[in-house]
């Protein structure tokens, strides 16, 4: 048994299978950052820091005639979303009920996926520098009309090309912006989504938590997501009525090439 303490929970094997499948199915659509950046790991719950290969000077040395440096690392962060499930619902699931109320789990998956997206794209103060905040490029506004999006996205791609950043390129769209794109057909009925695909030559992803949009290169080696413990469901405690569980992960994120992305404001 590891730190997730799953075997202490009053949940059957079939119940755990149901919860894991539900969590996996709900998380995958919303984990936008993992669809666009390089992922490495998982390296385990014990893994605590990403190696940056850099050092910083120290004010003094512990003896005469020697010098010293201190390694710089990027500590992993832990994200956790707690939730409670009804034990009566879990018992009904074991009886074969197919309409089990897993809404608290579903909401927790959304919360943690959004938090991961926000941390990667916009940063986490004091812990992670996000793609949008690291980008040195001016931010253009997408505006209210989705018909203007191709011009803004093409402009962002051109800015990346001017900086020697090759494609293919990806596009992370905030909820409102994604909805506008999906529902819009340009003059002549050509779907806007297809037009943007032709400009980018890469993925367009629904990115809840992103404010506006981010255009970024998918060539690799520009954005590094390092996973310690990958997303997991763990056990906290239970009483006669509910079982308290949580979703958890540990990760670090490092922008290697700040100029490889352009943020677009709403």
């Amino acid at each position: 048994m590891n730190h997730l303490l799953r075997s202490h929970a009053p949940i059957s094997d079939a119940g755990w299978k149901m919860l894991d499948e539900e969590a996996r199915g709900r998380l995958a659509p919303a984990l936008a950052a993992r669809k666009l950046v390089d992922f490495s790991g998982p390296l385990g719950w014990e893994h605590s820091a990403m190696n940056l290969g850099r050092t910083r000077p120290l004010a003094s040395a512990p003896g005469e005639g020697v010098s010293g440096l201190q390694r710089e690392v990027l500590p992993l962060v832990e994200l956790r979303a707690d939730f409670e499930l009804s034990r009566a619902e879990l018992r009904d699931a074991d009886r074969g009920a197919e309409d089990v109320d897993l809404e608290p789990l579903d909401k927790a998956t959304h919360r943690i996926a959004v938090a991961e997206n926000v941390a990667v794209f916009h940063g986490w103060h004091g812990a992670i520098t996000g793609i949008a905040e690291a980008s040195p490029h001016d931010r253009a506004s997408l505006g209210e009309s989705a018909e203007a999006y191709p011009r803004q996205v093409a402009g962002a791609v051109e800015r990346l090309l001017c900086n020697g950043i090759t494609g293919p390129y990806g596009l992370a769209l905030g909820r409102k912006q994604y909805r506008r794109v999906a529902e819009t057909a340009e003059h002549g009925g050509y779907p806007l989504l297809d037009h943007l695909h032709k400009i980018l030559e890469g993925s367009i992803v629904w990115a809840p938590g992103v404010d506006g949009a981010v255009v970024l290169s998918l060539r690799g080696d520009d954005f590094a997501f390092q996973s310690g413990q990958d997303l997991s469901v763990g056990y906290d405690f239970h009483d006669g009525d509910v079982v308290r569980l949580y979703l958890e992960e540990s990760f670090a994120f490092h922008v290697l090439t700040p100029e490889a992305a352009v943020a677009l404001t709403p």
Binding site: M1, D13, W16, A28, R34, P42, G220
Partner: protein
């Protein structure tokens, strides 16, 4: 120098996928070498030469196993299937069918979790659309 291990344009592949492909190519080469030494040993009559070849084949066993372990650590579903097949007695095909069903249909879940670290095994989604 060739880049035959890449089936898709290398420039479009993430670094992790390029490493994965290199290790797959290495795994293939080690398996070929094991087969070649097996053939050489089968026809070699000089016991000293055979001893050298047997030692060399042992190296290839080690290399193959290291490559395989690296790949399995990065591919949870593959690892789960391999766990159900390797080092068991009995019907290999039967074990394989059971292991595949367990791994790919999520049957391996439970208190221990579907994956070795107890995680959901989501990992990278790069290349997925929407």
């Amino acid at each position: 120098m060739g880049f035959d291990q890449y089936h898709e344009p290398p420039d479009e592949l993430p670094r992790a996928t390029r490493t994965f492909a290199r290790l797959c190519a290495s795994l293939t080469e080690e398996a070929e070498a094991i087969g070649w030494y097996e053939q050489r040993l089968a026809v070699e009559s000089d016991p000293d030469a055979a001893a050298v070849m047997r030692d060399a084949q042992g190296e290839e066993f080690k290399h193959f196993s290291m490559d395989l372990e690296y790949l399995l650590r990065r591919t949870p579903a593959w690892r789960e299937i391999a766990r159900g097949i390797l080092f068991h007695t009995g019907d290999i095909v039967e074990h394989a069918e059971e292991a595949e069903a367990e791994a790919l249909e999520g049957g391996g879940s439970g208190p221990a979790g579907a994956y070795e670290d107890g995680s959901l095994g989501i990992g990278s989604l790069k290349g997925a659309s929407r």
